[in-house]
Structures are given as structure tokens and as C-alpha cells.
């Protein structure tokens, strides 16, 4: 059971790493605009079936 002395701090450190990653991404502005990026990924780079009207 003494493995707990290592595993528990390790778990908290891992949580801390994830948290740090989140904080960095917030500071870099990745969460400033939550509306546009989900749309942006839906656009093809070059539309290849141009419809003729």
C-alpha cells in the first residue's frame, strides 16, 4: 500500500499538467471565440463542385 505515497502525488501532478496546458491555451486566446472555429473546420479548402446557375 505504500505505493500510495508515490501514486497520489503523481496523480495530482498529472492533473496539474493538464491544468497548466488548459491555462496556457486560455492565455493564448484559444477560448476567446467559441463560435467561429467550429464552423471554419467545415469548409473545404477548395470547393471542387462549383455549381453553375
Amino acid at each position: 500500500m505504500s505505493v500510495l505515497y508515490i501514486v497520489l502525488p503523481l496523480a495530482i501532478v498529472m492533473a496539474g499538467v493538464a491544468l497548466t496546458a488548459f491555462i496556457l491555451s486560455v492565455r493564448k486566446g484559444q477560448f476567446d471565440d467559441l463560435d467561429t472555429p467550429p464552423l471554419r473546420m467545415l469548409f473545404d479548402d477548395e470547393p471542387n463542385d462549383r455549381r453553375k446557375d
Binding site: M1, L4, Y5, L8, P9, A11, I12, A15, G16, A18, L19, F22, I23, V26, R27, G29, F31, D32, D33, D35, T36, L39, R40, L42, F43, P47, R50, R51, D53
Partner: protein, 839 residues
């Protein structure tokens, strides 16, 4: 004459199924349908944009778009002001020697297809490096190579695609708000991560109760829990401590005080117990509490931020450039901020005057409604003083600038506004009043518990008192109240009612004095066709002269002609008839005379028609007299020497004003009208909307309005509703300031609530929704009180273990939260949606 009328009627095309516009998808007016063409356009704007999109090879836009859009109205500007050094200094960030970026706010951004179209800009315009659009804010950041491309070219291209660009103003404020959002998000994440881990550790501790866990492990877990708990209190929880300290310094109690009381008691007792290795630790409950409270506050903050953003977009729409006349009559477009006293500026018809000054040439009408409350346009000529922020409704004017910025009339009014804000008396909010009582009761109960148990065992007494403080922590008010407010603000925003502070909702749920501005609030604030009467042509209907009058009035820039064109926009004179129209002459401030074939047509003031020697039938003359008695501007139409029709123009009362005034009265609000317009007009409007004329005051200066708001404030809750710069100070000083659709920038900035759709019906919705929101909050409060009573009783009798505490707290939060959501949904169903619901 009869033949003429029938000819005009016969020339209009037969009714057919509506044809959708090739660009915007809305129905094309019948007169504009081109029979043989595949492409149909409802207006010139749609045609231009359609052509531009095709010329750029961006037809896929139409495939991506899934709904009809509003017809675009591309600006006629050349955007040369975008190239002015002053503009670059104000709005452009130079990234390197050749690369620069600018934030532009775009009109007409609606959906995903717009994102695609705008972000294609680098493919369309070589030299643009990147274009990134933020859909919600409608702001695009364009990065481009300054050597290859001028900014005005980018402006023209965006405009051509149907998105008129404006420089994004208020960026420093936006930057501050962005930092605030990020900070709150980080706090939320840290609190959440700590709460999750603290709960896991707590689970281990609970599972190991009753000697199933070795003491050394138990101690280790308690220390980990303590470290996590202290971290939660010291980092994300620090905001509560700051708020409580600020309140204590001001000798008041706000909602942070009871929260901090619980956090502090739990934190200190927990640390002591960990060090002494005895008793209970509460850090799992505390860190969950911090997280839940932050969630509530974050949601409310985000909704208020959205409302704020939406209002800020409107600031960007305000004109930011003006035309400066340089040596040799050369016109240069430049940012308003760069205009200095002594400059000569040109203000075209329909534009807003950029600065205070004196007219050097030209004759026109200006509408001072937003500045003074006068609804009728004021004629101005050479030598007259004009004020910035006022629209020029007539011909173009050249103005020698005398004052700019803080010295101008608007600038001086803004100083009164600032004074209004600074001296706004603090009103004790509902939640803070509850908080004060809460603190008192909980401290008394804790002291009583301690006193009772200390007779037996001091250590147990401390434990029980601390447990009581923690379980009574006002989770419901800290979490459910902001969430309820956030949901209410969000729902109101969907109905174009933008609420910038939750406190406004709380205040509007009460009763008090509501002060209404007249011009622009109860009325439209501009000249409108209020009456159209045709003499003796009942057989051919009332509309027979409208196309002809519309065709003539389109040639004039007089405010009355503008109002005519607006009212008769749907009437087009058939081509066969307009070919016959010749010799159109306008007499300034009189009317228009023209020939239709061999018949003379006169449209103008009664004096102008009389001078032409035209007889007016008695019935028309009587109507004319009646209308003039109530301050209506009358226009007569004469064909072939006979007066045939009469039109009346005035500042029309909004359709829903009367209903809204009545509804607010039913809701126990005491209404009064304040206006800068003349007393007689104000009384007339008061009678028309159903307010006692003795409760209507005219000829009020901005200072007088402010003074009146102050006077009422001592006695009752005061709500000011207005649209103008002259209302701004009163809006800022009132307990709740509400700016209505079409208002001046200053009033938007000063108000707590902005109603973005025309009319007063939204005001009634707002008050009803506020009442229902507060009712929900009260119900939640009652339910949580029951929870707290049970928990406090358990704690005081010493039956409250940390396990029960840890279960009871989230369960109570969840109950109250789901109740808040459910009741808000009920509010939404019950509130009338449209003006049609009115009785």
C-alpha cells in the same frame, strides 16, 4: 385626368407568384421582376453584391448559405479615409515594415457562409495575408502587405461583397474585457480541477472510516486534502475574500461576506484539525463550494458580456469619417478624431455632422431630436450654428468647425453624464439585503451552538459551530441567483433586449416611477406620413396618385420629401408615365412643380399651391385646417389646376406606445413624460398615449431631466427611458436607465439596458420577465432555507458529520439549480412574445 389615373393603374404588372431575389432570397417587388432574365434582384445592392461575388469566383457562398439574408446596402464611400495617416495611427497595428493588421467591424455578418466568404479574402485580393472573422462580434482581423495593397482597396472589396466595414472602436476596452474573461475561465478551471481531486481524496477518507485505514495513510490523505483546499481558497477563492474585505471597508454587507465566513471557518478549523490530527477536515466541501459559486458567477458574467458586446457593435456603426475641404476645393475623407477647430468640413445630405461649427455655405434642415428633443427638423442657413452628432436631412452643407471633442455640445453633455454616473446613489440590492440578515442569523446560531456545547466539551463545541457555518454557506444565492439571472439575460437578449447588469433586472421587478422621453421613445422621432386623403376619387382607390408623387419627391432632399419617399417606397411610376414627366422644378421650402405630358402637377405646401392659383375644394381645406391645428405639416397635391390629394406629416406616435403605457400602468408603475420639445406638443402626445397631461413636462434641458431624476430618487425607484444625448445624463443617474432603439451613442453608453428593436412592447416584456425572474429567485430562496434549517439543526445537535455535509451540499445545489432552469423555461412560455398578443 381620369384617363391619366387609369393609365397609371393599368401599367402596373399583373399579380404573379413571388420571385426570390438571386442574392438575398427575399421576394422581388413586382415592379422589378425581369420577365426574360434568369437572375432576379430585389434591389441594386443585391445585384452589385451578386456580381462582385461571381467576379471573385466565390459562388460557393450560395451553396453554403442556408437561409435568406437581409438585402445588403453597400456604402457609396470610396473608403479613402482608410488610407489617411490619422486613420492608420488610430486603428492599424504595424506588425513589421511591410505587414500591418487592422480590426474592422462588418455590417451584415449573419451565418457560417459569411465566415467562409470573408476568410476567402486572401484568394480574392493578392496582398491580403490573412482574414479571420469572429462571427459573434462581427469583427474581422485583416493582416495585409502594405506595399502591395492599400487599406481602402480592402475596404472597397469587403463593401462590394456586401459587408460594409467600419473601424472597430473601443479596442482597449475589448482587450480588458478579454483579459477578464480569461482570468475568470482560468479561476473556474483551477477551482474545478482542485474540487475534483479533493473529492477523490475525500472518497478515500470516507471509505477508510472506522479503523479500516492505517493512521499513517489517513494522515497523508488529510494533508493532501488540506493542501488542495488551501490552494482552492487562496487562488480561485481569493475573489470572494477581496469582495468581502471591500464590503467590510464600506461598512456594508454584500454576498461575499457570508461566503467568506463559511470558507474561513471551514479553512481554519480544517488546518487546525490536520495539524493536531484530530476531528474533521472540510476541504472537499469547501473546494466544491468555491467551484460551484464560480460557475454561477461565470455564467452571469458571460451573458452580461454578450449584451455589452452587442451594444458596442452599435458604436462602431456610428460614422467615423468626415469630408474635409482642403485647399483648392479638394475633398479629403478623414477620421473624425483628426478634425481640428478651424477646418472646413462638408456634410452631405443624410450624413451626420461631425463637429460643432458655423455653416459657411448651403441651406438645409437638421434634425436635432437626439440633442434637444425637438421632433421637427430645424432649417439652417449660412451663419447658423450647428452641432455635431446631428443628422443633416437636406442639401449638403459646408461647415467651419469651431469646437471638437470635449468642448463640443455633445462633449459638454457627456460631462453631465459622467457626473450623473459618479453621483448615482448606491441602491441596496435584494441579494445584499438577504446576505446581511443571513450573516446575522448564522453567526447567532453558531455562537449559540458553541455556547451550548462548550459546557460539555470545548473541542466538540468548535466542531459543531464550524459545521453549522459551513453547511449554512449560502450556496443557493451564490449559485442559483446568478444562474437564474444569466438565463433571464440570455433569453431577453434573444428578443433584442440587451441587459448590461443583473442588478437592473432585480430593480425592474419592483415598483416605482418610470420617466419616459417623448421624441424617439413614445414617438418615431422623425417626420412620417400620418394622413393621406384623396378628394373624390373613391372609384379608383386611394393609391392612384402615390406613384406620381413618389416619383416627384424622389428628386428633392427636403425632409418632407424624404418622409414622402419613405412612406411611398413601394410605389414606382411605370416607365411609360415617367417618360412623360418633364420640367421638374423645385422651389426651396415650397414644393415641386412638374409637367406630366401636358398637365401641370404641383406638390407642396398649401402656400405654394395657393400661389400657383389652384383652388382647394372645401373638404380638403377643412381637413388641412384641422391638421394644422394639431401641429401637422400639410402637403397638397394638385393635378391640372385642381387640388386632388392631401398628405399630413408629423412625428407619429409609435403604434404600441398606448398599449405599453397602459400595460406598465397595470404593472403598478407610475408614468411621467419628460421632453425637450414644446409643452403643447408634449401634452398632446401624453393625451394620445393615455398619460395625464399634468404628468407631462416639456421644454426640459438635459440638466433639468437629471435634476428631476435626482429628486425622485430619494423617494422611490426611478427608471428612465430615453434615446437622446439629452437623456443620457438622466439615464446614467436613474436607478435603471433604458435606452431605446435608434438612440444616440451617448445614451447607449449611459444605460443599463438597451432595447434593440423598435417600439415600447419590449419594455413591457422586460418588466414582466424581471418580475418572473425575481419570483423564481424567491422560490429558490425558500427551498434552500428549508435545506439550511435541516442542516443547521443537524449541525447544532452535533449529528452533522462531514459525510452528510458533503452529500447535502451538492444535492441542495442541484435541486435549486434544476428548479431555477425549469421555472425560467416557464417564464419564457408565459411572457407574451409579440405585440400581437396585446389586448
Amino acid at each position: 385626368m381620369t384617363t391619366l389615373a387609369t393609365e397609371i393603374l393599368a401599367a402596373s404588372p399583373p399579380a404573379t407568384a413571388p420571385v426570390p431575389c438571386s442574392h438575398c432570397g427575399q421576394d422581388v417587388p413586382r415592379g422589378l421582376v425581369e420577365v426574360e432574365s434568369q437572375l432576379q434582384f430585389c434591389c441594386a445592392g443585391c445585384r452589385a453584391v451578386y456580381d462582385a461575388i461571381h467576379a471573385c469566383g466565390l459562388e460557393a457562398y450560395y451553396r453554403l448559405r442556408n437561409a435568406a439574408v437581409a438585402p445588403p446596402k453597400p456604402s457609396e464611400s470610396t473608403f479613402e479615409s482608410f488610407d489617411a495617416p490619422a486613420f492608420h495611427k488610430l486603428f492599424v497595428q504595424q506588425q513589421s515594415q511591410t505587414v500591418a493588421s487592422v480590426d474592422l467591424m462588418l455590417e451584415g455578418v449573419t451565418c457560417a457562409a459569411c465566415v467562409w466568404l470573408i476568410e476567402r479574402l486572401p484568394h480574392v485580393l493578392p496582398g491580403v495575408i490573412e482574414a479571420r472573422l469572429s462571427l459573434r462580434q462581427a469583427i474581422v482581423r485583416v493582416t495585409w502587405n502594405t506595399r502591395e495593397l492599400s487599406l481602402s482597396r480592402i475596404g472597397r472589396t469587403l463593401n462590394g461583397l456586401g459587408y460594409t466595414p467600419h473601424p472597430a472602436k473601443g479596442l482597449p476596452r475589448k482587450q480588458l474585457a478579454r483579459i477578464e474573461v480569461r482570468k475568470r475561465l482560468i479561476d473556474l478551471a483551477v477551482a474545478g480541477a482542485i474540487a475534483g481531486n479533493a473529492m477523490l481524496v475525500a472518497c478515500a477518507l470516507y471509505a477508510g472510516r472506522g479503523g479500516r485505514m492505517e493512521d499513517s495513510y489517513r494522515e497523508f490523505f488529510r494533508w493532501i486534502s488540506a493542501v488542495l483546499g488551501i490552494l482552492s481558497l487562496a487562488w480561485p477563492g481569493a475573489g470572494f475574500f477581496r469582495g468581502a474585505i471591500a464590503a467590510v471597508r464600506l461598512r456594508t454587507v454584500n454576498f461575499d461576506v457570508p461566503i467568506v465566513l463559511g470558507l474561513l471557518a471551514g479553512g481554519v478549523a480544517g488546518i487546525v484539525n490536520v495539524i493536531l490530527n484530530r476531528g474533521e477536515v472540510y476541504f472537499d466541501s469547501l473546494s466544491v463550494l468555491v467551484f460551484l459559486l464560480l460557475v454561477g458567477r461565470f455564467l452571469q458574467f458571460r451573458q452580461q458580456r454578450r449584451a455589452d458586446d452587442a451594444v458596442e457593435l452599435l458604436f462602431c456603426l456610428a460614422p467615423s469619417t468626415c469630408r474635409t475641404v482642403r485647399q483648392g476645393d479638394r475633398i479629403e475623407e478623414m477620421p473624425i478624431e483628426a478634425v481640428v477647430s478651424g477646418d472646413l468640413i462638408e456634410v452631405l445630405s443624410g450624413q451626420t455632422i461631425a463637429a460643432d461649427g458655423v455653416v459657411e455655405s448651403g441651406q438645409s434642415h437638421v434634425l436635432q431630436a437626439l440633442l434637444t428633443g425637438e421632433a421637427e427638423p430645424v432649417p439652417v442657413g449660412v451663419g447658423d450654428k450647428v452641432y455635431g452628432g446631428v443628422p443633416n436631412q437636406g442639401a449638403s452643407l459646408r461647415i467651419r468647425v469651431s469646437q471638437v471633442g470635449a468642448d463640443s455640445r455633445v462633449g459638454r453633455l457627456m460631462r453631465v453624464v459622467e457626473r450623473g454616473v459618479a453621483e448615482k446613489p448606491a441602491i441596496v440590492q435584494f441579494t445584499d439585503r438577504i446576505a446581511a440578515r443571513f450573516v446575522l442569523v448564522v453567526t447567532l446560531a453558531a455562537a449559540g451552538t458553541f455556547a451550548y456545547w462548550s459546557r460539555f466539551d470545548v473541542a466538540a463545541a468548535v466542531d459543531h459551530a464550524v459545521a453549522l457555518l459551513i453547511v449554512c454557506c449560502p450556496c443557493v444565492l451564490g449559485l442559483a441567483t446568478p444562474v437564474t439571472l444569466a438565463v433571464a439575460i440570455g433569453r431577453l437578449a434573444r428578443r433584442d433586449i440587451l441587459v448590461k447588469s443583473g442588478a437592473a433586472i432585480e430593480k425592474l421587478a419592483r415598483r416605482g416611477q418610470i420617466l419616459l422621453d417623448k421624441t424617439g421613445t413614445l414617438t418615431f422621432g422623425q417626420l412620417r406620413l400620418v394622413c393621406w386623403h384623396v378628394e373624390g376619387f373613391a372609384s379608383t382607390g386611394d393609391e392612384q396618385f402615390k406613384p406620381l408623387v413618389a416619383a416627384l419627391e424622389r428628386q428633392s432632399q427636403h425632409p418632407v420629401a424624404r418622409a414622402f419617399c419613405q412612406a411611398l417606397a413601394a410605389f414606382e411610376l411605370p416607365a411609360a408615365q415617367s417618360a412623360l414627366l418633364h420640367d421638374v422644378k423645385e422651389q426651396p421650402n415650397g414644393g415641386i412643380r412638374a409637367m406630366l405630358g401636358s398637365q401641370a402637377v404641383h406638390v407642396g405646401s398649401p402656400a405654394f399651391v395657393n400661389r400657383a392659383g389652384i383652388s382647394v375644394p372645401p373638404s380638403l381645406a377643412r381637413l388641412q385646417h384641422e391638421l394644422e391645428q394639431v401641429g401637422t405639416t400639410v402637403v397638397l397635391v394638385a393635378v391640372d389646376g385642381n387640388a386632388v390629394a392631401l398628405a399630413g406629416f408629423g412625428d407619429q406616435i409609435r403604434d404600441d406606445s398606448r398599449w405599453a403605457v397602459h400595460a406598465l400602468h397595470e404593472l403598478d408603475w407610475d408614468e411621467q413624460i419628460l421632453s425637450g420639445d414644446s409643452q403643447s406638443v408634449v401634452r398632446k402626445v401624453a393625451r394620445a398615449v393615455g398619460i395625464d397631461p399634468s404628468r407631462a413636462t416639456g421644454e426640459m434641458t438635459p440638466e433639468a431631466k437629471l435634476a428631476l431624476v435626482r429628486e425622485y430618487q430619494g423617494r422611490c425607484l426611478t427608471v428612465m427611458v430615453g434615446d437622446g444625448v439629452n437623456d443620457a445624463a438622466a439615464l446614467a443617474a436613474a436607478d435603471v436607465g433604458i435606452a431605446v432603439h435608434g438612440g444616440a451613442e451617448a445614451s447607449l453608453a449611459a444605460a443599463d439596458v438597451y432595447i434593440a428593436s423598435p417600439g415600447l412592447t419590449p419594455l413591457v416584456h422586460l418588466v414582466t420577465a424581471a418580475r418572473k425572474t425575481m419570483r423564481t429567485i424567491r422560490v429558490n430562496l425558500a427551498i434552500s432555507l428549508v435545506y439550511n434549517l435541516v442542516a443547521a439543526a443537524l449541525a447544532a445537535t452535533g449529528k452533522m458529520s462531514p459525510l452528510i455535509c458533503a452529500i447535502l451540499m451538492p444535492v441542495s445545489s442541484a435541486t435549486v439549480l434544476s428548479l431555477a432552469m425549469a421555472s425560467i423555461r416557464r417564464i419564457d412560455r408565459k411572457t407574451p412574445r409579440n405585440a400581437e398578443d396585446k389586448p
